[in-house]
Amino acid sequence: MAVARARTLPSNGMLGFLAVLAIVAIAAPFLLPSYQTLNLSYALIFAIAILGLNILTGYSGQITLGHGAFLAIGAYASAIAQQKMGINYLLTIPIAGVVCGLLGFAFGFPALRLEGIYLALATFALAVAAPTVLKKPAAITGGVAGIILPPVTSPTEFLTDDQFFYIVCLGIAALCFLLAWNILRGRTGRAFRAIRDGDLAAVAFGVNLASYKTLAFAISAFLAGIAGALYGIATGFVSADAYPFQLSILLLVGAVIGGLGTLEGAVIGGFFSQFLPQLSQQALSSINKQVANAAPSVTQGILLLVVMVVARQGVAGLIRSNVHRLRYPVQSGDDTPAAPEASAQTGPL
């Protein structure tokens, strides 16, 4: 038991790496121009959203293509709480998370009866239908016009508004990842992975499918709600058209490229989701506007295919196997421990 416990805690090297990462993350807004700070905030928001997607799809094996719909609901929950109830915007973030978490829990029940491809189908339809549904009650959601939110202002003169918001996002993202790490390393995480790798076997081992599957939905939607609230606050404007089904695809792209079923993959994926569309658009804007507008979908599609063919574990998988190779250089006749992804017989992909 002691051994098993120790293995779930990070090693000293890992802690050192995380400390360096934290210092870089905190220093970044003071070294970068202001607009890049906002970009980084968006990347963190996407990372939180992808973390949620990852828990549902990467860890518990339930395919969702409708994550963007929960982001939209989170953004509306936060905006409505601010505008109609006058609640401080920072407090609306957990409220949005709880609202989405409950909705996700509720959506998890019909989803229990939908397996694999059927769940993908239903959530895809959810992603496409959500904007038109959210626009409908115009008295609450502002209809087509949406809801305009006041800009975030920094409470201290030491930080600019963008820097302050970035620090808020960083703190919330750190809390979310800590929470997810804590859930996933223990009993619940094992139950999720067991369901993903073979639900019959999981049931045979006493895993309650219904409660763990709905729990995964609830956690995933909770994180989506938090990300959605932050996204709305960052944009200063909540409108259903800002959450098209392409957003759900973009999040899945980030999750797959980053590496499904890993925590670091969610962080890497967040950066991809934020910067890939921008960079591909900029790269092709010299040709003409039409080409530049189409660039993000083409590049994300091609990158998805490349990742699927070359490295199904995503960037996180590549990093893991290279770290492993550095730690255990191959020698002839040596019984090197197998690389992590080779020893794990199953995974999300």
């Binding site: 293509l65 993908a120 339809a125 089904f245 499904l260 039409q290 189409a294 599609g301 699927m308």
Partner: protein, 293 residues
Amino acid sequence: MTFFLQQLVSGLAAGGAYASLALALVLIYSAMGLVNFAQGEFAMFATFIAWTLMVNLGVPYPLAFVLALGFAMLGAAAIERLIVRPFERGPQLGVVIVTLALLSITNGMAGFIWGYVPRAFPTPFPQNPVVIAGVYISIQDLGVIGVSLLVLGLIYILFNRTKLGLAMRTAALYPDSARLLGVSVGGMLAVGWGLASGVGAVSGILLAPSLFLEPNMMQQVIIYAFAAAVLGGIESPIGAVVGGLLLGVLLAMVGAYVQPLADLRLAVALLLIVVVLVVRPSGLLGQVHVRRV
């Protein structure tokens, strides 16, 4: 009554087009157990090909129609062989991701080539309606119903009355026996993708005059096609046709008689998908699968 009949005909016309795309999804699902999320985008791309042939090159409508279908079939068969094949036997998530990648790429390529400005699409049918027993019925609608039924009939004959159809059904149901009998199972899957894409292209070309042609044209239609396929039973080709026509009529009636839901047709389709999948996953005409636990 007159109003009702007019709604019925326009519902059937839209339903015929949904049925074609639903049939495309069903053809691939029943052969390989996978849903091609890019099916709508393939149809949109083929419709753009037809548009280019007609408007830029002056090809007459019937020839452009056939050429666009041929392009759609060859293109999809090639995509199946080159890109989808390695993932068919892997986890479902992998196939879903690959078809989503295809969706993204096809949509973006159409944007690259033709841009995002909606375009008018020519129709071969006269615009003025005919009057039958006091009911104004658009010839366009009748033509769309006629063409969809013709295509669906041809597919039925292909599967039930030809050797190729028999080989395809064998390859889908009993791949090992099919191989022993000398049927190229892989080849049949490529043919299946080609056929599906051709049928889907029909739906795109039929809908383009009323929807206007642009890269995101099929985004909502694919949801209706999913709903139609699920309603009819996702493994039943006849179910797809029945489901498509029913859905077309249902949405037309909702639009005409239930005003508050008129702009929530997508939500109606979503609700239908979830309810059918939860209550009766085999749909109206599908076979019920029993799972032993």
